[in-house]
């Protein structure tokens, strides 16, 4: 079966404790694996401040993960995540060739820098 590369980011309820966080991360990982996906990378960003309140909460526990999976995996995984009260938000992206190249470059740390020289920085500040 053809497998595509996906990225998923989700925000967990910050009220939970450390133990419950890892339990939830394992729950989502297992959900993906049980539906025919293979995890590539799981990156936990930890508790971060949200740009605006969601469900009257100003922080959230961010988890960013990458996996290979057939298209049929996504619907049941998202359905389960939607039902779960502790998952405040999720976003799944299917990677195309360009996005995959970008991901590989980022992994290698060879991503072209956009605003590194101070001159360029000055210029873009003026734009605002």
């Amino acid at each position: 079966m053809k497998k595509d590369f996906y990225e998923m980011t989700y925000i967990l309820n910050p009220v939970l404790d450390e133990e419950k966080f890892s339990e939830m991360v394992n729950y989502v990982n297992k959900l993906i694996e049980d539906n025919g996906g293979e995890l590539v990378e799981v990156d936990e960003w930890g508790v971060k401040k949200l740009a605006y309140d969601i469900d009257k909460k100003s922080t959230g526990y961010y988890v960013n993960l990458y996996f290979n999976a057939p298209a049929e995996t996504i619907a049941p995984v998202e359905r389960n995540m939607r039902i779960h009260d502790d998952i405040m938000r999720y976003l799944t992206l299917k990677y195309d060739a360009k996005m995959k190249r970008h991901y590989d470059l980022r992994k290698k740390g060879e991503l072209p820098a956009l605003f590194e020289d101070p001159e360029g920085e000055q210029e873009s500040d003026d734009d605002k």
Binding site: I11, A51, N64, R89, L91, L93, R101, R106
Partner: protein, 83 residues
């Protein structure tokens, strides 16, 4: 003169080259919020191409990335003092 491309009022619009094209960036990631924040104004609105000088392709990618970042609460829809 009608349709004069060298209209003096356009002088304040500085940057006319696409920074993403110049840097050779293929895809704009919604997680790179420090980049996205440079292309929104103080209120959190996406700046137009007329101001940023982005190519059409990159401006489309940028607006998608900003909208994704907003949804994931990485950048605000509207800044605090305006809400």
């Amino acid at each position: 003169m009608i349709n004069n491309p060298s209209h003096p009022k356009k002088g304040h619009l500085k940057s006319r080259d696409c920074k993403f094209t110049k840097a050779g960036i293929e895809y704009i990631d919604y997680k790179q919020t420090e980049i996205l924040e440079r292309f929104v104004n103080d209120q959190g609105k996406i700046l137009p191409r007329r101001v940023t000088g982005n190519s059409a392709r990159h401006q489309r990618q940028l607006s998608t990335a900003v909208k994704r970042a907003r949804f994931m609460a990485l950048i605000p829809y509207v800044t605090e003092n305006l809400r």
